[in-house]
Amino acid sequence: MDAPVVLVTGASRGIGRAIASLQAMRGARLVLAARDGDTLHALAGELAAKGAPEPMAAPLDLADADAVAELFKQVFSRFGRIDGLVNNAGVLHEGLLGMIRAEEIDRILAVNVKAPLMTMQYAARLMARAHRGSIVNLVSIMGANGAAGLSLYAASKAALIGATRSASKELAAKGIRVNAVSPGFIDTDMTRCMPEVAHAKRVASIGMGRAGTPEEVAELVAFLLDDRAAYITGQIIGIDGQMVV
């Protein structure tokens, strides 16, 4: 069989970059989507230099439905198929109730909910032809548990959990699996920028006493994309080192 075609959104940094790197090293033909074109092209070049199939870099704003449509036209034109979709792109939002603007709600929901719903629709149309495919949505421990100051962000991730479960039921008969990965506190540029006290407090809430790594999340995503997980669908799988929220 030809190498699988895998689309990773938010691929330019953090968890998305680790997912893309691992998929590339396993021989996937990658489509890398993110806003930052320069970083994306640099990553594509870096992965190709390591011997991976030349990734397709697709700089775009995922909140733009027309841009998402155009992306899938390019994928269809270049590969004619898609085997894996990883909806990793997401925007974190912190704000107490009473301090959240309506425009912020629109912006967060556009990236964290509308965009993965659109990519799932397009990807499912291509996957249904082959009667196989795997979709992995990155949610968050906050989506199920919530936390003070994260009402909007948690709502967006809870929405994606609902979409994951619903899509898995709708698409199972077409041979398409849909799962979500729910990370806890992961060591990325974003978490490293936190004030030291806040960072230490978060780490102290983790049973295993450390933050997770993007590579650990990437391994779980890789498993779910792979045929080794052929009978797993509709699951929300935590990867949080026993974090208590």
Partner: protein
């Protein structure tokens, strides 16, 4: 208005995908007007048209594809010779 013929690729795709005779397919045939063209078959029709014409159809156009004639119009909009 296009006049369907046995060589009409759009008609052929609809007939093959819906499992009906080409003579039963015209530009006036509407979505849900026959049991064979239901919501599940609709996605198969879209996929078959995309494969036949080598294009990917926008989501809104998939939803708006309410008849064979409309499908032909959408294919033309996407640059396909339908």
């Amino acid at each position: 208005m296009n006049t369907p013929s046995s060589e009409d690729q759009v008609i052929a795709v609809f007939a093959r995908t819906l499992g009906i005779d080409a003579g039963e397919v015209s530009d006036e045939l509407r979505y849900n007007a026959i049991p064979q063209w239901d919501s599940i078959a609709h996605m198969s029709v879209v996929a078959a048209l995309e494969d036949a014409f080598g294009i990917m159809i926008d989501m809104d156009d998939v939803i708006d594809m309410s008849s064979v004639g409309k499908a032909r119009e959408i294919l033309r909009k996407h640059g396909a010779a339908a």
